[in-house]
Amino acid sequence: MSHAASTHPVLDPRIAPPFPQAALPMLRNPQLRKNVGHAIDVIQAKRARLVAEKTDWQELRTAAAAIRTHALENLGAYLEQFEANCTAAGGTVHWAADASEARRIILHLLRQENATEVVKIKTMTSAEIQLNPFLEAAGVRTYETDLAEIILQLGEGEPSHIVVPALHVNRSQVREIFARRMGLKDLSDDPQALTNAARTYLRQKFLTVPTAISGANFLVAETGTVAVVESEGNGRMCLTLPRTMITLAGIEKVLPRFQDLEVMLQLLARSATGERMNPYNSLWTGVTPGDGPQRFHVVLLDNGRSSILSSPKQRQTLKCIRCAACMNACPVYRQTGGHAYGSVYPGPIGAILTPQLMEMHHAQSLPFASSLCGACYEVCPVKINIPEVLLELRAQVTDQERKHFSRFFDPMYLGLRIANLLFARAWIFHTAQWFGRIGLGPFTRKDGWIHSLPSVGGKWTQTRDLRGLPSQNFHEWWAARRKEAK
């Protein structure tokens, strides 16, 4: 662990290295590759089994896509409806335009409670706004209660997956972190022993910390209800013992009707963890006297979402219900894990969501971090056409970059501009093929293969050979054959 700090991943899109560069240490890390591959195989196999048993899976996807699209197209109205119903039930709704406003609102609410400590239900949205370091700096200790989040918090790690944030960490690494941070020298790596250690650690927090922060899987406009699903029951503890609950939710999380949960919960559990139903489905509406938190706040976070909503082609990104099926299916994520994406949102959804949340000012390597294989779109329970959005974002990045003079002689840009000239006229294309044969001649070995190329070509030949150009192109063969026939 001693040298871990030097390779500590940066999950802030504004300063993270570009994807190809950030991926390198991940590709060279056999432990990480094995942990990620194993965890994904387990989840994928469970998911495949449970999806196969639903004969109406495609209909469910169609329904979910329609519900989410409708909610987004009428987002303002549904958010106001949610606010009205939540307020009527005793909650207080706050609106945060960006991350810094959300952090300030939450700190202000904690100060009102005189809180110096807070327990947290797993929420990626709080990681998006970098809430924990902000609160710690302001003197509020944060205690994650989701097992994976505890592992990361105690091990000073970063999430690499949105559903299973410590997916890259294996059992023996968990043992080491718990033993070191909980002072349990004789802890074994038996899952039962590790769970017991976490439980003992958590119980004390649940019983002593009166303030909690959660995210939200869904907000229901019709009833003002907040929904959180989880596997461990630690979220349920945060929803019963503390006096005050502050929920942070992206504005896109809203569903029109309570009944819509029927569709969403079936898809979410199967897509995310390969379960028929999440073990804990917590729904709460405002405040219930004598039961659970007696003060309840919802912070609705925009943080770039409105600008995504304003683009018809990109809007579908916000349909996401954070199931992570896309990253589990992604052959790129499988090799790199999540940290290479430089964001708390990794994988295919992260590759489209992160640059958009940054309003296309940062994370511009992410839309290119995909082979466009389409596996993400195939599994997405709300039918986000991720490849389509990737292409849209690629076009935007290219449009921005190609204006810069420094890009003029960039081999990739130059090559693509030249290729465009060649493809405009067949005779130019054919002349270029002829010159290509001459030009590649010196690089072509006797066996007809190219083993090494300069510049961009070298990126190919660093791991792959390239067959040399044939002495006769197809169109030449065709022309010769026609001539012969006459």
């Binding site: 190809p20 082979s371 935007q396 493809f423 293969w449 006769q472």
Partner: protein, 250 residues
Amino acid sequence: MRASLFITCYNDTLFPETGRAVVHLLERLGVELDFKPKQTCCGQMHANTGFRGEAFSQAKRFIRLYQDSETVVVPSSSCVAMMRDQYPGLIAELGNEELRKQYGALLPRVFELSEFLIDRLGVEDVGAYFPHRVTYHASCHGVRALHLGDRPWRLMAKVRGLDLAAVNNADRCCGFGGTFSVKNAEVSSAMLTAKLQDVLATGAEFCTALDNSCLMHLGGAMHREYAGMKTIHLAQILASTEDSLAEVDL
């Protein structure tokens, strides 16, 4: 039956043997084939790299060039996927109503090779002979964009002498992805290594596919690593007969 062959830019340049095989195969099946010498590229490379204007020029060129063809056959699944999935967006953004109509009229007549054989000609047994152990790489665009389904397997099942070896994780990408293979060369290589492990484990002599771009990637690594397996486009297997064996250097 008349058909126009769109060979694609990279097949013309790098894999003329695939084009020759398509010609021999389809002529054997009685198709009257023509080849438009003005053809170049479908625009996929530009579209996938964010060069939308350039991609549109090539899309427009393709549509205009083939609008009078009875049918168009394309031995490259990713190029057909480009035409089906990306042309509409490009035309909506940069084209006009006339082009949209021409595209709408042309599209149902554009076929990927296995679609053309099975859906248009209605043949599964093309009379081929290829006495080798072969594994099939189901390219991403063939599986998820064109939904080719069991078409390739139905064609291969009828090839005399062919010993078909199933590959694990058949629908997983080989890591090519066009410019992805150089923009993210290391990640692409890691994906390729994983794919190659599954492909080589089949013990096949040949790895075939309906897209030479994946095969260029897999074949490039096989050659680099002296892997003892070669790549071959399915058209070349289907063109191969007892009298005229496939163009492979054994």
